[in-house]
Symmetry: C2
Subunit: 196 residues, 2 copies
Amino acid sequence: MKNIITVSREFGSGGRSIAKEVAKRMGYEYVDVEMIERIAQTSGLEPEIKENADELSRRKNLFEFAFAGREGKADSMENYLWNRQREMILDFAEKGNCVIVGRCADYILRDYENALHVFIHADMEYRAQRIIRLYGETDQTPEKRLSDKDKMRKANYKYHTDRDWGVAQNYDLTLNSGKLGLEQCVDIIISLATTE
Amino acid sequence: MKNIITVSREFGSGGRSIAKEVAKRMGYEYVDVEMIERIAQTSGLEPEIKENADELSRRKNLFEFAFAGREGKADSMENYLWNRQREMILDFAEKGNCVIVGRCADYILRDYENALHVFIHADMEYRAQRIIRLYGETDQTPEKRLSDKDKMRKANYKYHTDRDWGVAQNYDLTLNSGKLGLEQCVDIIISLATTE
């Protein structure tokens, strides 16, 4: 029985939808990176961090800010948020019965015997069609949007874990959602999580 | 329905046993790298290749020979065998209803819609205990034996496919056999292969 499920995923692969559906069907709490970021940003920011908040809000997202500079305030801001998020993930894991999406949770909880670590990916064509359907067109090609996001996740994962993102050995299970279909991915994850 | 299953695996992960059991339970032909090597070596070797055969047989295995030199005769020998093995894998795939272990079959059959590509891995401790139980102790530590084999498979895969071995995106499904157990891996593969 695995009562903590971490889901990492390529942008556009449907990993988030799969995770939500798994949480719903198992009656588990669904925890995702935006939620963790929001709580970390709004609660108890130290004064020296707080002065970066305006700059942070001007940027499109946290990672863009974090990657703008690895030194000085930006660096301490990133490390502060990382530590807060890490603590929050450990708190969720302590309670159990949760599905956690993104944010290197597979690494943070790598020694938890009751955790199942999943990675979802799909080929470029499938993901390109999916993000256009879900988020609409932009000035950039869907391929460019996908590779930018993937690059950011890869760099972020490497920075915090010193491991390579998407390598099979980091996960208990990886699935090609484009080939297998979202519904089947949900079924497999539930089946593996509920086996004694 | 997937009637071709390719299984790549880390040494000692039980990938071969899983593949054999899947083939047995599905009534599929089981094809592995030793079989392919044997046929390729004994049938229709070209004269200029044949003179390397003595050297080949003195070496512990084909890869050791292949990696001894990437130029001249060794190189053409390797490429000749690679092409023969590639053709044989394509022949097996054409007939269908088979489980093919190793030898970059996932790459060779990457565009086959009716193929399910699986990678099996496990942590070092699990694999070390398993190879000692199966193959006994040697002068080398099990960790050294494992990392040598992994390194060879990685280099061989890279050379022939220009892709990185063990990266989730190359496979439809990857499984941690040490954590999930061999029996459960067999069940999941069969379940995915038999779904319409």
